[in-house]
Every structure is written in C-alpha cells, then in structure tokens.
C-alpha cells in the first residue's frame, strides 16, 4: 500500500465531494506555509493526524514515506541549527559560541532558535505529507479529474495530473522486477552494499525503468489518440458528482480551521525558545 494509492474505505473523506477536497487541499497547503508559530504548527499537525485516523487511512504507508522525509529533514535541521539568524539575538546552545576575533564566523554556532526553526520546518513537511495523501488516498482517479473539470480546469490538464498518480504503482512494480532481473546477474549491492555504492549502482535500476516508461508512454499516447482523447473541449462523463449539504459543511469547516490556524499565528507566541530564554 503506497502513499499515493487509493485506499478503499468508507469514511467521511471518501464520500466527500472531490471539489471540496481539492479546494480544501489547496487552501490548507497555503495555510501550512503561512504558519510561523511552533505551537500552531504542532496543533495543525495534530489536527491533520486526527483527520487522517478518522478516515481510516494506513499509518504504515505514511510512516514508510515519512521515514525518508525525516532523514532528509535531519540535514535541514542541522543546517538551521548553525546558520539560523546570523544577525539576530539568537541564543547559543550551552554557550557554544566562537570567540569574537574570528570575525563573521562568530555568528555561527549551534543555536536553540535554529533547532526550533528546523523542527518547525520538519513539522510543516510532515503536515503536508498528511494533507496531500489524505486527498489522494480517498479520491478515485475519475472523481479527481471530474472534480477538477467541474472546477473549471481543462480536461487535458486534469487528466494528465490524475494519470501521473495512476502510474506510480506501475513504476513501483517495474522497479521491483528490474531489481530482480539485476539480482539474477549477480548484483548484490542493494542487499549488502554501503550507501554510496548503492547510489552509484542506481543507473542499473533507473535506466531500464526510464526507457520502459518512455516506451509505454508512447504506446499510451497512441492508444489515447486512437480513442479520440482531447478531440474537443466538450466531453461526456458517465460519472457524476453532486454537492450534498454535508459537503458544504465540510467546506465551511475547512475554511474555519485554516482561519483559526492563521489567527493563531498572530495571537500565540511564535517561539517557545524566545519565550523561555528571554
């Protein structure tokens, strides 16, 4: 079960009109980036986690991906730790500051605010990877593209977006097959090798996949053309979507949540560290 695979359950999110989900997704994604307070970011992440759970979505699929994000974010946190706020009144950790006579370098050293900011960025990312899959995992491809079209997006673009999502499980399957093929030729680096060896060996996996993907894409293009894809701006849809009363309520709720989070930005202190150390 991948992070962007449709997971069939019955929950409020699954039955929600795709248009509401799309609008809420765009809106809340913007909110995620507007939030500057560490308290608000943590609350936001908490809210999204509750929404995720109540939609009965797979935490394992989330964690498999979050692990990777976290390892990348670790680097970001380290960078923020040292380079945050060169000229501000940031507090050095355990007084670890370089002496004054090394010039500008004295501004660099591990700072609490830097750590806090790094954590803020991390939690923001985690929120995003809760928010987007929440929509993708609870909306079928057809509903998604229908939702986009009913919101005014040209069909071709809607279709391109949803098809890319549809293709991802195929890629995962391909990579597995290719890895098997290379294992059969004695390639052990993915089981036993060091990280850099694995990195250098990636072409053996990626090249056949890309070539295969290109071949398949071309075939798909021919098939779509044959079936009159994009022949006119109009199109019939055998599926329908209709806004129910509950959908309007959900939309209102999403807008309110976003508004509250943004308001929190201005009211609640932005930094725990500043609060404690000042």
């Amino acid at each position: 079960m991948g992070l962007v695979d449709y997971q069939s359950e019955s929950s409020y999110l699954h039955t929600m009109d795709p248009r509401v989900k799309i609008i809420a997704l765009l809106y809340l994604s913007v909110v995620v980036f507007m939030v500057k307070s560490i308290f608000v970011v943590l609350v936001m992440c908490g809210i999204f986690s509750v929404l995720w759970s109540s939609a009965k979505l797979s935490w394992k699929s989330w964690w498999d991906f979050a692990k990777v994000v976290l390892s990348i974010m670790a680097l970001i946190v380290v960078l923020q730790l040292f380079f945050y706020g060169e000229n501000s009144k940031a507090h050095f950790m355990f007084g670890l500051q370089l002496p004054d006579n090394v010039g500008i370098l004295s501004n660099y050293g591990p700072k609490w605010e830097g750590l806090e900011f790094g954590i803020l960025l991390t939690v923001r990312f985690l929120s995003l990877i809760l928010l987007m899959p929440m929509v993708i995992k609870t909306t079928t491809i057809n509903q998604m593209s229908l939702g986009m079209v009913r919101l005014g997006l040209p069909y071709k673009i809607a279709y391109m977006t949803t098809t890319s999502l549809n293709i991802i499980p195929t890629f995962q399957e391909e990579i597995r097959t290719i890895m098997d093929a290379q294992k059969l030729r004695g390639m052990t680096v993915f089981e036993e090798g060091k990280k850099w060896e694995k990195f250098v060996a990636y072409p053996a996996l990626v090249v056949p996949m890309i070539i295969g993907a290109m071949r398949r894409a071309q075939q798909m293009g021919v098939a779509m053309d044959t079936r009159a894809f994009g022949c006119s701006k109009q199109r019939t849809y055998i599926e329908t979507i209709k806004m129910k009363r509950s959908d309007w309520l959900y939309l209102a709720a999403a807008i309110m949540i976003g508004a509250v989070l943004i308001a929190g930005n201005f009211i609640i202190p932005q930094s725990i560290v500043t609060m404690i150390l000042n």
Binding site: Y6, T140, I141, N142, T163, N166, T170, R216, Q219, M220, G221, V222, A223, M224, D225, T226, R227, A228, F229, G230, C231, S232, Q234, R235, T236, Y237, I238, E239
Partner: protein, 288 residues
C-alpha cells in the same frame, strides 16, 4: 464489388530523424468487410503500415509522409487522428499500455466519452461491446485484474464502443498464451460475421491466418512484396524464405514431400485440405 475503404497511393514514410524509409512505394486497396493479414519480419514496416490507417502516422509521430492514405474517404493527412477515431479502431501488442482507467466500465466508456456520445447511449454501447468480447461479468473490475487474453479483448471492446467500421490489430496475440490467442481470434471472427467489420491484423500466426484471412499482405524492408490469398502466399517457397515467413505446418509438410519427389497434388494450407490430399496420395491417387 465491395467499396474500397482503405487506399494507399504511392505512400512513402520515414520517422522523424530517421535515415531509412520505413515504408516505400505502398500502393494498396482494401475492400469493406475484408480480413487482411499483414506479415513480415520485425522491422519490415507492419506497425508503421497499421498506424497509417488510423492516422497515428503521421499525425502523432510526425516524420515525412509522401503520397496519400485515404480511409473511408478521409485523407489521413488532412484529418486528425481523432476524426478517424470513430471510423478506425486500433489494438496494440502490449495489453498493459492501452488500458489506463480504474474499471472495465470506465475503460470501455473512455473513447465514447471523448466523442461526446450521450450518457445513455454510452451505457448501452458498453453492454453491447462487453457482450461481444465476453467480458460482461468483469464490468466493475479494474483492468489490472484481468489476464493477458482478457486484457486484449477489453482493448477490442474499448474500440468497439466508438463503433468503428475498421479494426486494426498490431500483433495482438504476441504476448498471449494459446488460450488467449484463440479467444482473441474468436472475437475478431464474430465481429466480421455480425458487423461486417473490415479487419487488418499484423501477426505471425500462420495457422490462424490460413483459416480466417481473405488476403495476406507481405512486407519486406518497407515494401509490399505480395498481396494475395493465403494459399498463394504460403505456397510460394521463394517468397516465404526471402521474407522469413513461417507457413502453416501442413504447408511445410507438403513442401517437404514435394522436395523429395512426392507431389501430393495440391498445396494445402488447412488441415482438412491436407488430410484429403495426403490420404489420396497415400492411397495411390497421385503417383510419383
């Protein structure tokens, strides 16, 4: 005399940035309701020829097309592929690459939706198409759950929903097992019988060609080398050798006997005809 539905006039084509002509001097006329098999080595131009019929060449691939390809009165260079979509259907050799929706129903509906067919009409076409290919019970399944043969039959159904009068199949059974192959040919035969559909199929399956095809088109290195009835083609030893075609095994048997001085009196391509000829020969009907 049936009308000509597909006409190639002095057609030459090469793919963009290619140095070699993929097709040269193709002159061809195919009548309504005909079953034409296209044979030749890999690289002889079968796929290119098939894609000329539905306009994929040159509209999708670009490249250079000289001469004229006329399908049901449309010049493929002045119509777009989508104009031809409800006239010519196409089934490719890779079952996976041509199925991309999440249910059989949606897959079959896709083409008709694009053509702005009214919803009610689409539903009735879906039922009809799935019935012909024998997949009605799978209507709610995702295409990925089907076997290779079923996928190819689904691919045929997706074209049928657009109600074309010509169906082009490019090696539809090359990746299928014998059961899948047989099922696909069964469907094709039914389409021909019930809908008088014109069929153009690129394939290596000689035994099936011997049984179903009206005429065989042999391509070699982009040229039309022969266009004649199956028994003429399969019994032309020189042609068969030059173009690397495998005739049905009973034909090969007749040649084997002939080469050793035993003329069985006819050149059969079907098992029934071969049976008659061989038993007659054995009983002494045709002497050395």
């Amino acid at each position: 005399m049936a009308e000509t539905v597909i006409r190639f006039e002095n057609v030459h084509y090469h793919y963009p940035r290619a140095k070699k002509w993929a097709l040269s001097k193709i002159n061809l006329e195919i009548e309504k309701g005909a079953f034409i098999a296209v044979m030749g080595e890999n690289g002889a131009g079968k796929t290119t020829l098939c894609q000329c019929i539905n306009g994929t060449v040159p509209n999708y691939h670009e490249g250079v097309l000289k001469g004229k390809v006329e399908v049901l009165g449309c010049d493929t260079q002045s119509c777009k592929t989508t104009d031809l979509a409800d006239k010519v259907g196409m089934v490719l050799d890779d079952p996976e690459a041509q199925l991309f929706t999440t249910s059989v129903r949606n897959e079959v509906a896709f083409g008709a939706e694009n053509l702005c067919v009214p919803v009610k009409e689409i539903f009735s076409r879906i039922d009809w198409a799935l019935d012909i290919v024998g997949l009605s019970e799978y209507i709610d399944q995702p295409p990925t759950a089907l076997s290779g043969g079923q996928k190819q039959r689904l691919a045929i159904a997706t074209n049928l929903a657009m109600q074309p009068s010509i169906l082009v199949l490019d090696e539809p059974t090359s990746q299928l097992d014998p059961v899948g192959t047989r099922d696909v040919f069964k469907v094709i035969r039914e389409l021909r019988e019930t809908a008088n559909m014109t069929i153009v199929i690129a394939t290596h399956k000689s035994e099936e060609i011997a049984e179903f095809a009206d005429k065989v088109l042999v391509l070699n290195d982009g040229h039309v080398v022969a266009f004649d009835e199956p028994h003429v083609i399969f019994n032309d030893a020189e042609l068969v050798k030059r173009c690397n075609i495998r005739p049905p095994q009973v034909s090969e048997l007749a040649s084997y006997l002939f080469d050793r001085g035993h003329d069985i009196g006819s050149k059969p391509i079907l098992m029934e005809d071969a049976y008659e000829a061989v038993t007659r020969w054995y009983a002494g009907g045709v002497q050395l």
